[in-house]
Point group: C2
Chain length 509, copies 2
């Protein structure tokens, strides 16, 4: 029973060596000296699943604490439990380990590549290794087999999470190239935001991709009305200008920012793909939860969780009608580490404080970009925060926010939380989260640990198409590629890269 | 498809009304206007489980993000995956919703009461409603049926989580009374810390409970050697003085603080309870993860997670030998909201930074209480932090910590995170977490959102005794009481309290 040397690592494992152990493939249970009897691994994740259609429902940048906060919020709307909560008790559920090839914390590019190709790559890369070996994403494999394919997202359509399912680029920032690769690939459905990358005047190469898509037989849709009127089976839907994403749900609903909802897009995409009658693989992304969490904006987060719920309901109705459809629902990683925390003596303020989320009628992004003038003085900041977020603000905090918006960086900034990523939205979000001058029940008791992604495991569900009751346990994000190909009845092995070689290449990069 | 009023709540739901909706029983899926076909609830959680013994393995104050961080840490020890990760892919697993009767955020007293009695109470109360109606905890019901009973913990034995399984008190602070109720109840095993509440000179009533326990036939054990030598089947083991808990694992191992490990206690308790031959219910608590998280001390957290793993291994070996034993493993709630976050360009610093956890050779509590003099000057602070935590500290941060330890509260404190609960440990932990002057790979990239508990769902496992593969989904903490009584073959219904009445009583309290 004496294992006193368990933690005595200073003597035996240097931090550098430990970093080496932390990276790369898992040592696995075989490293344990004495396996425990009866501890057998879970059965094969894809066992018994056979699907004609796959809907991969991606939540960008969220996790278990958000799930609880969204569940609390949904309860106050009479919409509890969440569909996602129900799914966790059905089908096959578990946890996903969201690492990249060389980091315990993934970005969305490496994360989507793991799903789409079954291989981990370095952060920032899309379906391509750092040595520029291309991988073959699942949408290519599906199209080769005669299936229809589609991408739906609330971000701009050339953003990382959708892009990795089609495009192969060394850096997610190459969005002009991603748009061009979309045209080369010709998926049936592309719906999201960000028209700029398709317009001659905004592209570095001056190509008119909108025109080229039309020539290739696509309907190009730009408004909710056009979406509703369209009947084509090949669609490029771009519902926001330039590099903008679709609006946060809280702004679409309360600030009147015109856009189809994620549920609208999902419904429209599924109708067309179902009509094609040859099986399909569709990725739907609730993509802006991640942005709200980067901003430390809890109203943005719960709003887009509710939008995801509506889109998920559309998907669940499809699966109920088409039991040969496999739904995979999972976040790519968590972002922000936001929590609903205990406040007040015996935490009696926690529930009423959380309800103050309902006072927030705009996202932080909208407030700072559209709701306030450039460089607002403290009085204007306080008035805007009160009007749109329902949050009374003490003068000192308004002064701090005003200073941030003017680009100042006072010395006390290092009392903020780590890795705020230099975003003014995040800095303001942090200031509002810790705004403890207001009576506690007037501000939501939600705070964030970071402005960055986290390494936490995320919840995972397989539903439909024979995914009967079972625990997946903790599985790697790459495993989902194999679950999809197994479900569709084929195997494909993309080339792996050694994490040490990748790290060396990354360091010299 | 138009549900644009989803979030427009300002007009329809006041924040006050929303608070009302947030509290109390879940409205449930029946509130949804149009149920989705095919969305059937999970099968009964306790179905097919029949147990002779129950081991309830409680993690105090941890959750999914800690699980990932502990998993990363275990990997660098060659001990990955964690037993707890393996369990999540076996038996019956799911998520637990950890609310109290009147708050979305529970404390450990209400949380343990939910487990032990199947009823939610207000925070702070132990197996008693706020109107002083007593509830009957599972250990009473088990003993009435001739079973052996025991409590093992790394906190002092009169702390909330163990206490609620035996004692009924309106406030968890009544630890003299809790110790006395332990004697009245006479469980077979009591092992933990905190001898003071049993000693005449430290009790308000002057009773010599140690003597009274001996008279009642107990062996009273105070050291690891006494534990090893003891063979009795009725044991009171108190392995720390006064009100102290058992040491953090990182201090037990590296600082030589004498104590049995949690695994030692668990092994010893199980041997005795198994020997009694009449079935048993044992609660084992890894109780100090919560404290480390309250302190925002990541080394304390992962150390005690590793200690929990060793104790869990002891339990798993017992279950393998005794397949009629049901293991329930679950945290009571999450604390701190600590996350491993992305740092550096493309998060390339994240993995090496995390490895710097290995430099930490003491808990924050030990450093501040035993490793530094009272009111240390900044130079002494920096030297201590460097020596024991391996963390180079910039002079400004050392000055801030010195000021905190001297009881100062500079104005920039409100740049800290919410609800630090006034604990100096937490304030110092926060300062070290955001200590961004050090090279990023020399400090662990772990930060915390709060010094308080969170509302997040927590991972739950049932293993052994017929708990075969299946998803529990998201279940209430109270459900675990019913799973235990079903497993033991009886039913008992403790009285429920209306949450609105409880909230009124709490407000006038």
């Amino acid at each position: 029973m004496k294992r006193r040397d368990l933690l005595r690592l200073g003597a035996t494992v240097s931090a550098g060596a430990a970093a080496g152990l932390l990276q790369g493939p898992l040592p696995g249970a075989s490293r344990r000296a004495t396996p425990v009897p009866g501890m057998t691994p879970a059965s094969k994740a894809s066992e018994g699943i056979r699907a004609r259609n796959i809907i991969f429902f991606a939540y960008d940048g969220t996790g278990y604490e958000d799930l609880a906060t969204a569940s609390f919020f949904a309860r106050s709307l009479g919409r509890s439990p969440l569909h996602f909560e129900n799914l966790l008790g059905m089908g096959r559920s578990g946890l996903m380990r969201p690492e990249s090839l060389t980091s315990v914390v993934t970005d969305s590019a490496a994360a989507t590549t793991a799903w789409a190709t079954g291989q981990r790559v370095v952060n920032g890369a899309l379906s391509m290794h750092i040595d520029e070996r291309e991988l073959v994403p699942i949408l290519h494999l599906a199209k080769d087999r005669g299936m229809a394919t589609g991408l739906v997202t609330s971000t701009r359509i050339t953003h990382a999470t959708p892009a990795g399912w089609i495009a192969r680029v060394p850096s997610r920032g190459m969005e002009d190239e991603i748009a061009a690769q979309y045209l080369d690939f010709e998926p049936d459905i592309l719906m999201g935001g960000g028209a700029g990358r398709f317009q001659a005047e905004m592209r570095s190469d001056g190509r008119d991709l909108l025109g080229e898509f039309r020539q290739a037989g696509y309907e190009v849709l730009r408004t909710p009305a056009e979406l509703a009127a369209s009947t084509g089976d090949r669609v490029l839907g771009l519902f926001s200008e330039g590099t903008r994403h679709l609006p946060f749900e809280v702004d679409r609903v309360n600030r009147g920012v015109e856009s189809p909802s994620l549920a609208d897009l999902t419904f429209s995409a599924l109708q067309r793909l179902e009509g094609a009658g040859r099986g399909f693989v569709l990725q739907v992304e609730a993509g802006r939860i991640d942005h709200a969490n980067h901003h430390n904006d809890p109203a943005g987060m719960v709003g887009d969780w509710m939008a995801a719920e509506e889109a998920l309901e559309v998907v669940l109705r499809h699966v109920a009608r088409n039991p040969d459809t496999l739904l995979i629902a999972v976040p790519d990683h968590d972002t922000g580490g936001g929590v609903t925390y205990g406040i007040g003596r015996r935490y009696t303020h926690s529930t009423p404080a959380l309800a103050s989320l309902h006072r927030r009628q705009a996202s932080l992004e909208w407030l700072l970009r559209d709701g306030l003038p450039r460089n607002p003085d403290p009085t204007t900041v306080a008035a805007g925060v009160e009007e749109y977020l329902g949050l009374p603000l003490a003068s000192r905090r308004a002064e701090q926010i005003s200073a941030v918006l003017a680009g100042e960086r006072p010395e006390e900034w290092d009392w903020g939380h780590p890795n705020a990523q230099g975003s003014r939205n995040n800095r303001v979000g942090h200031l509002l989260s810790i705004s403890d001058e207001t009576p506690p029940v007037q501000r939501a008791n939600i705070n964030f640990a970071t402005g960055a992604h986290t390494g936490g495991f995320v919840p995972l569900v397989l539903h439909g198409a024979g995914a009967t009751q079972g625990n997946l346990g903790v599985i790697d994000n790459t495993e989902l590629f194999r679950i999809m190909t197994d479900a569709l009845g084929f195997r494909y092995e993309n080339p792996a890269m050694d994490p040490r070689a990748a790290r060396e290449a990354e360091t010299s990069d």
